[in-house]
Symmetry: C2
Subunit: 194 residues, 2 copies
Amino acid sequence: MSTIERPPRADAARNRERLLDAARELFAKHGDEVGMEEIAAHAGVGVGTLYRRFPTKNALLNEIAREHFANFIPMAEEAERMEDPYAAMVWLLRRMCETTEGDVGFQMAMLGAKGCDWQGIEEAKAPVGEIVGRIIERGARSGALRPDLTADDFPILACSLAATIYFHPGGGDWRRHLELMLGGLRGPAATPTA
Amino acid sequence: MSTIERPPRADAARNRERLLDAARELFAKHGDEVGMEEIAAHAGVGVGTLYRRFPTKNALLNEIAREHFANFIPMAEEAERMEDPYAAMVWLLRRMCETTEGDVGFQMAMLGAKGCDWQGIEEAKAPVGEIVGRIIERGARSGALRPDLTADDFPILACSLAATIYFHPGGGDWRRHLELMLGGLRGPAATPTA
DNA sequence: ACCTGAACACCGTTCAAGT
DNA sequence: ACCTGAACACCGTTCAAGT
């Protein structure tokens, strides 16, 4: 029983795009506090239509979080191309924070905020995790990074930075947090520059 | 117009204690997910009584969070008595984490969780902040801690540890996080022992 | 097929009625 | 004074009726 994929009706496809656009914008600004009614209205459709495309508010959050994590992949790849693994971590972590800073919904995704169900998000995080794992391994071996640093440490660090961004917004506290964190990641043979 | 403080009726006082007990227990286990109805039932009173004592769910969270922060004061005092400021920070941060680990509601208070209004909690945090400020100042000067470390850094660090406890529970990830953090706090003249 | 919005469920909060 | 629980408001979700 082969299931033939039918292209969706034109208006349906358009509505889906509009809903994602509205959700992206409103989640970015207000996190998960926005109501579904509000998102639907902002997209110019009824709530029923929203629920037809996304079975739950959480599914919508997931969809958009996945997009964001995918955006991290090229950043991680660029970091991996740098010779010094310490410099690569400095650059990547800062870049991730800067990206996360303007989007409350994504901050929640990075935290894995309770109350939401981020099931299925692991697959979106995995590629970045693998790339970073290679950077860390290389740095730990060369002495550019703390010798016992592991790929498993990365989620902890990323989440903790996200926490500062989310819970201490505005004042740029995450830059200070990153600075202190980097002092702890640095290995005995890290390049003296920043 | 002097307002004479009347002692509350015996049953009222008892109800208040029961409500706080119930809230302490249920917030610890489930965070702010517990319903007000549930707390009232657990205390053996009606919801109306709960709202008579605490005008809002948030007021109840605040009350209990204040208690918790007060418990940190003697810990901070004990830390201050240690000669080595680095050892003091190691001990105090670990102690705070261990205390926080078993209480979801308090984890939220440490984070300053969004959606709740932690107004008025600053006064409860302040005494600990002052003590820690003195430890940090002493350590930064002596070289036991990072020379540029400030009292203002403490809330960032504490919040970020709380984030790990809250968002990565169970596996003891906060111990690893603390270890990495301490590597960054350590000064050039820190005692070599742990 | 898809769209809509009134209706339902859930939980924080209020208030009229009781002691 | 204080206690109670039914009633209200709000928001996520469902579903009968319409195109």
